[in-house]
Amino acid sequence: MFFSDVLGQELPIKIIQNAIKKEKCAHAYLFVGPEGVGKKSTAFAFARLLNCKNRIAIDSKGEKHESNGDNLDLQDINIYDSCGECISCKKIKKGIHPDVSFIYPEKKDIRINQMRVLKYQAQFKPMEGRWKVYIIDKAHMMNKESANSVLKLLEEPPDKVLIILIAQNKYGILPTIISRCQVIKFNLLPSDLIIRSLKEKYNIEEKKALFFSRLSHGSIGKAFSCCEEKMDETKKKADLLISKMKKGDFISLFSESEKLSFSKEKEELKKILNIMIVFYREKMYENPTSEYIKILEVILQTKESIKRNINVGLALDEMFLNVNKIMENKKFAEII
């Protein structure tokens, strides 16, 4: 992963690059931002650059200068990046570099034992590289014990240790952890950037790209995975459901909800609901009446409840009925 592979995150990359250029790398960073906008890629690019044996400096004209792993003393260096060819870069790419560890929730959260291992390892000097880098993904899923147990390490880690926490939002993280880290915010990408890169990468038509960009609302990772899965089937299904809800064709709707509730895959259902949201959201943009707001709220509510292990069939039935009622009687929307 190169820094240049990360799309649309100029500001975070600039902050990191500046820190590297000035040799003022802090010991702990917290990358905050929605899913699929490039946090993990940036973290790995960071780890690679710190350990790369053949750092490449790119000046403002786009020319590359090789350096022997150290910063060049050039005035107009725009960006440093890893070479991608040295042994260190290759090992990190394969995930076998002894000094770069990736920690993620092994079960449903990050346990204190994982942190104990981390702390034990962090005492030692780097084995091959220059920096020991620990990337903790989904840091908001650290449980209370493990989060508290890294506090001391985060405050004063040993020399040449860098810890990068990655989280979707700040709320799940202890304020005492946040205060020990350099917080770097990653934002959603503008839709035209997503459309452009989708068209470049997958060669799809404008209309489809627009739909995917809406579906992924600013997350390029989600947009790519939408492209890779065959979304056509799901889209058709969702469109059918929308038209049936409008007509009030409950017999087939109910049998549909039964089918959906029996399939164990909640992913498919989630996608269908997301497509519905996109549909009604566009309607809302055109015409911000309480009708569409209510429908969106109903769908959002259903999505929430399904996350909480509710009876899926019943939740869907209720949603179908409510949406239909709202569509048929606009006054109803005002009341509920």
Binding site: L11, K14, I15, N18, A19, K22, E23, K24, C25, A26, H27, E35, I112, M115, R116, K119, K144, E145, N148, S149, L151, K152, E155, E156, D159, K160, N169, Y171, P175, T176, I178, S179, R180, C181, Q182, V183, I184, K185, N187, L188, P190, S191, H217, G218, F250, I251, I277, R281, M284, Y285, P288, S290, I293, L296, E297, L300
Partner: protein, 540 residues
């Protein structure tokens, strides 16, 4: 050593250097000067206000070669060892990692031994709130009467999680949040030492970001320092931190005030596309409306707005008239609700969009609605007053105003005037039914099936059809109760007899259903066809 972050580089080494906690430093210093050193301390307070720092300085002060002294020299071997974190007698324990009873047992084992070369053995247990209950209890005896050479310093951000028995054995010190001025002053000191060029207003912005915690402010400052360019300007920092400029907020404000919900949308989209955070936007909007509410209630000259510039105050003053207090409350409530939901939503923007439309729609105040209803009521009573004079239109109009139910009751009263014989008026019957329902609801239900047949004096005949034997028996069984209820409501003493009558004559207590009015849904029809059913009771 490689690069150290500012918070570590400028960690105070003397009591005097700890910012904003002079009240604690003074007590500790006096304690040392008068040789009254307690054996257990508890430092509590928010993140980044100096708890660990103070603990280390205290350790140094008691162990300094120049005696226990309020001014540790920072030069003798003890002081230097402690600063570098390699002293054998100052043990900094991470309470969150060593939280079990076994670790505490080890600690108790080691407490007995005399310090190696220093006067005191100091145990600093940081993040002590994470100890388990067992561990806390195992510590109690040691904490109460430790050997003379031992000092415990517990530090935590969450003192409420610590058992009362521990609290009562410690000298407790509450560290307070730092004020804006204190943080800024310290930042200025660092700016001086590090030879950084920065605008004063930019520095204020950084200090504000700390929100009372020095370490937070320093973390932000760290990023600011590594910005490009010699002099750090305010606008660079605004861009770096993604702080929403006032122009954006006031534009939002205007759009909301003028109920332009469509434009609110497009503007929100624009802002999100240019990289601002929706969470932050929500928080800032909420703050803005809250200020407005405060300005409306307390006036913009109140103490709440001391920190505000004159321009901001003028703005508040100008705008507070645009909203009523009720609407402001409504808006703040909506935004707070949205904030909670946004935290865990996959698509926080959508949640905010919905909230923004809701609050940018024309707002009708409750008072207004009540006034309108009162007006309508006045009109109705005027109209009904007219009708009594005007018999022709009487029925027509009354039916229009009264609900469906009453219409039917009126009708049945009309048709069955003889049987009802106005023994009880409709309202009386309703009262009676209510009374019976209160005592035994099933009886009330039985009664609704009855029809009042002939009446002789105080004898009432209730008629049931053949299929309704069940109800008849129910009424007979409870006739005493019914009679009592009737007496209670109307004061009349009556007797009841129940008979079976196939002919459905008599005054029904149940409003008659207009069969033709029940709309049969196609699905209902289908169900009826399949099961050969009929409609007994239609519920809308």
């Amino acid at each position: 050593m490689s690069y150290l972050v500012l918070a570590r580089k400028y960690r105070p080494q003397k009591f005097e250097e700890v910012i904003g906690q002079t009240h604690i430093a003074r007590v500790l210093k006096n304690g040392i000067a008068t040789k009254r050193i307690a054996h257990a301390f508890l430092f509590s307070g928010s993140r980044g206000v100096g708890k660990t720092t103070m603990a280390r300085i205290l350790a140094k002060a008691v162990n300094c070669k120049k005696g226990p002294t309020p001014q540790p020299c920072n030069e003798c071997t003890s002081c230097r060892e402690i600063t570098e974190g390699r002293s054998l007698d100052v043990l900094e324990i991470d309470g969150a990692s060593n939280r079990g009873i076994d670790e505490i047992r080890d600690l108790k084992e080691n407490v007995k031994f005399a310090p190696s070369g220093n006067k005191y053995k100091v145990y600093i247990i940081d993040e002590v709130h994470m100890l388990t209950t067992d561990a806390f209890n195992a510590l109690l005896k040691t904490l109460e009467e430790p050997p003379g050479h031992v000092i415990f310093i517990l530090a935590t951000t969450e003192p409420h999680k610590i058992p009362a028995t521990i609290l009562s054995r410690c000298q407790r010190f509450n560290f307070k949040l730092l004020s804006f001025d204190e943080i800024k002053k310290h930042l200025e000191y660092i700016v001086d030492r590090e030879k950084i060029l920065i605008e004063s207003s930019a520095l204020s912005l950084v200090a504000k970001q700390g929100a009372g915690s020095l370490r937070d402010a320093l973390s932000v400052f760290e990023q600011v320092i590594s910005l490009e360019g010699e002099e750090k300007k305010e606008e660079d920092i605004i861009a770096l931190l993604g702080i929403l400029p006032d122009e954006i907020l006031s534009k939002f404000f205007d759009l909301i005030a003028e109920n332009r919900s469509r434009e609110v949308f497009s503007f929100l989209k624009e802002i999100v596309n240019s990289g601002y955070d929706v969470h932050q936007l929500n928080t800032e909007l909420k703050k803005y409306f809250r200020d407005l509410l405060m300005a409306k209630i307390a006036g913009e000259e109140s103490v709440l707005f001391v920190e505000k510039s004159d321009k901001e105050k003028e703005n508040l003053n100008k705008r507070k008239e645009l909203f009523s207090t009720e609407r402001l409350l409504f808006i703040i409530e909506l935004l707070s609700g949205a904030q909670e939901r946004m935290k865990w939503s996959e698509d926080p923007q959508l949640v905010l969009e919905i909230a923004l439309i809701k609050l940018s729609r024309p707002y009708v105040e409750i008072n207004e609605i009540i006034n309108k209803i009162n007006g309508l009521q006045g009109e109705i009573s005027e109209l009904s007053g007219e009708t009594s004079e005007n018999d022709e239109n009487n029925e027509e109009e009354e039916k229009d105003f009264l609900g469906e139910e009453k219409k039917q009751i009126l009708k049945s009263e009309e048709t069955k005037n003889t049987a009802a014989e106005a023994e009880f008026s409709n309202t009386e019957w309703n009262e009676i039914l209510k009374e019976i329902n209160l005592q035994k609801q099933s009886v009330g239900a039985f009664l609704t099936r009855a029809k009042i047949g002939k009446t002789e004096g105080n004898k009432y005949v209730l008629e049931f059809s053949k299929e309704e034997m069940f109800y008849l028996k129910g009424v007979e069984k409870n006739s005493k109760m019914i009679i009592k209820a009737i007496e209670k409501v109307t004061g009349k003493k009556i007797k009841i007899t129940c008979i079976v009558n196939e002919k459905k004559a008599g005054f029904s207590l149940l409003p008659e259903k207009k069969e033709e009015k029940v709309e049969i849904h196609p699905y209902t029809q289908k169900v009826m066809d399949i099961f050969d059913g009929r409609i007994i009771n239609g519920v809308n």
